[in-house]
Amino acid sequence: MANLPDYHWPPMGKRRVMGKPMNRLDGIAKSSGAAKYNSDVKPEGMLFGALLTSPHAHAKVKAIDTSAAQKLNGVEAVRVVANPGTEVQWAGAEIAFVAARTEEIANDAIRLIKVDYEVLPHLVSEEDLSKTGNRARAVGEQVTGDPEKAFKEADAVSEGHYGIPVLTHCCLEPHGQTIAVKGDHIEYFPSTQNVYGIATDIGRALNIPVSNVHVHMDYMGGGFGSKFPADVWGVEAAKMSQSSGGKPVKMFLDRATELSIAGNRPSIFANVKTAAKRDGTITAWESQTWSTGGIGGGNVNGQLFPYVFNKVPNRRVNHTAVSVNAGGARAWRAPIHPQVCFVTCSALEDLAAKLNMDPLEMFVKNLNYTARADLYKFQFDKAAELMEWKKNWHPRGDSGSGPVKRGLGLALGTWGGAGHFSTCKTTIHPDASVEVELATQDLGTGSRTMVAMIAAETFGLPVSAIKVKIGDNSYPNSGGSGGSTTSGGITSSTRKSSMNALQKLFEVVAQSLNVTADELEAVDGRIRVKGNPDRGMSFQQAAQKLGVNSISEMGENNPRQAPQEGLNTGGTGGVQMADVSVDTETGIVKMNRIVAVQDCGLVVNPKTAESQVFGACIMSVCGALYEERIMDQQTGRVLNPDMEFYKLAGIGDIGEIIVHMDIREENDRRGVIGLGEPCAIGGLAAIANAVANAIGVRVPRVPLTPARVLAALERRTA
């Protein structure tokens, strides 16, 4: 029996490709427009789908008449999804779909559908808990230690209110797909984070075997957690394709619908009380929070409070879920962590201010309440150095006489990120070309590049020698990209399939070199005898020895065994610091700088890793300063489902961003850990804290708009 290869990552100092910054393989294609997204796909004979949505936040469909739409020339299919009797629970809910020969005809047809609604009472806002009535549901209290006693004995007690509204994912490429259902075969071009799994979703809905579903997706334009299922619009597009004799149907949401119903991040509002000793040791935490994620309410795992410092001995945590008539939440880059982080880090910064203490000092002092005291200590030191914290920090409000006040803030985050289930096939062809196939997806994160780097490292070949084939469910099963599980999964399966294929090649080559396979190594484009580099042959010559048969080997990352194997693990930490200037006359906040120090274990590609963190910092700026789904209680609708008043930062708004990947031997030993989420947690809280530090008063709710900043300043004066 052949020896099992040693799958371990090469030691840090011996890597030739991994750990070196590398441009993403699809960078030119994407920036030049050559990359074709699925929203660009236009198969022959394609029909355009359109969607009629409910204008009411809560209503019962009494009657629906599609006859005029059906008669319109060019309309090929009309499908009703909210039949009479259906109760719709939010404005934007799907009522009916149309497929037509042109987009214009489809939209005209939608307007010809007549729906008679019985309008029912609605609630669309949860901000004011006292106005939510029976839509609020307490989810129970958690108590640890003796909070009452701790508050009584404390040297300092701080109380505050904090809030983040519902945000939307605002994917630049909206949700949707082009799909063709011909007989019992489906050709499916979705924008998805779930290339492999979505086939099962659509197959089930149409009662077509998954083996007959072919999913393609080379590129996608943003998901952030919101693009896993086939969704109603996918299933209905498929059924319209089916009923029109298999013509492909393109059905992507328009911007307003995308922002109204295609997922969002739950809100959180909190009343918090904290206590500490004079030296800054946190002694107690009490929080009452409420949130919504749509009609189902919004749950928060109380165990997360206080965030990261969750070994604080005395805690009382209450949460209330509020059901509202608005589009439902979906996973949003580190679900619930940014919210819990914001509430915690704001409350603790307020507590530090009460003690007249530098929050950095207080956070560091309490790191023994966290699971990773040493890691955070190192990261805070590094961030403080990059931010010049000691030089630039000042006590709250002590920021000079001019109208523009500068302040610093900080926060920290944690996440899991162990690799998901992933299988991969690596093939070495007799002409020495190497291909790696797996049904993963590149959401713009750089996973395609990462796969190539792992294979190149394993074979001792340049990255350009590796052909990566992803984005197709006919390749081996690899998990959906959620929970920051992709990096760990795909690097491990690629490593193993590539090592397995290399082992087979070694076995072929070993005979001609008169050694055993385990005496061989693949380095610098050669297969050679360990310790005797001159004895060997080029990779090309080695591959030629395969004759006409290529080698194809599988590799698998199974999350149950992965911890023992050590290629990937979970559990990361990162810290963020922000430097802002606040114009106290206008209330406008400008970003000067963000520093992010982030660990994700073994960093395969420092360049795309940094890019991930840059993106996360920009999202943090958006959430802290601009983003907010604005609901109107009178009409029950979203008022800003557009890119005009659903505000996002532009390049001039983000300030300087300094990313320091925490690449150290001791982190590297933990193997690959996902990065997408952990870096997207703390930035918002750091910015909010920096604003409090600048202007000397807490602005309780984000986004930190001029109206809110000015109101907080007014309260301070009053």
Binding site: E104, N107, D108, R111, E585, T586, G587, I588, L625, Y626, I630, D632, Q633, Q634, T635, R637, L639, N640, D642, E644, F645, K647, L648, A649, G650, I651, G652, D653, T705, P706, A707, L710, A711
Partner: protein
Amino acid sequence: MQPFEYAHPSSLHEALALLGTQWGEADVLAGGTDQISLMKEFLHTPKRVVNIKGIKELGGIRHSGQGLRIGATVTFDELASNQAVHSEYPSLVSAVMGVSSPQIRNMGTVGGDLCQRPRCWYFRRGFGLLAMQNGKSLVPNGDNRYHAIFGGGPAYFVSPSSLGPALVALGAKVKLVSSSGSRTVDVAKFFVAPQNESSRETALLPNEILTEIEVPPARGVKNATYEVRQKEALDWPLVAAAVALQMQGQTVGKARIVLGHVAPTPWIAAQAEQALAGKSLTGDTIEQVAQAAAAGAQPLSENGYKVQLTRVAVKRALLAASGKA
């Protein structure tokens, strides 16, 4: 978008003949930065679209001792790049640069800036110019963070025009031409606060085209625009102020102070103008004038902050005009 007939005339005469007598018959297309979205949202469903970009006589900037003549199809970018505009009308340049999207500055026209429809989110969601539902305006009890603090209704939207306040302050006029003749209207009177749902927010009639803007000479007139805008990237101002000060030596003779984004029209801050007339531009005076600019404001439930922003915008516009910014 509703199907429509498209016309691309090459003369003004031809274009005017293609217009209707009622709104909805024909819409004029220039830069298209607003028109296209109005049509896509079915807020405008014209039977005919008349593209005036090909009409030579509607373009061009002419500067003389008589002042400035700006053709309606001159783009924001052309206006801001013009040397004479730069030296004599800095308030127009600042107003243009407040349109913080190079794409819109390249496409959007000066005439379009004056004729664009309001950005009120109730209007844009189909509730009409006065945002009515069941006979009541949605604005006072709704989310009115971006709405008017002057005017007192029934219209609560804010005029979206970037150039309007500066043009009013400079005493500019617009020429409105129809097949039967032409008329010249002060920009200050071009903007109208509609009193009912069937009226429009400008004096333009369905059979007219705004052909040009005439701006009086401003040599010796200190002028500036200041916008309070949250973002550097494309974003509407929360409040803007434009000032034009005719100096008599060190003191201000006649002062025009016009606010933007606070009312359904560019809003003349009359008390502020009075407070400034005959004074020199000292720090104290500027503070007093800024306070006076917000006099009479009637903020709604969510837009009280705009009162403060009004004062700041006026103060900073005056500082810019006086060269102290």
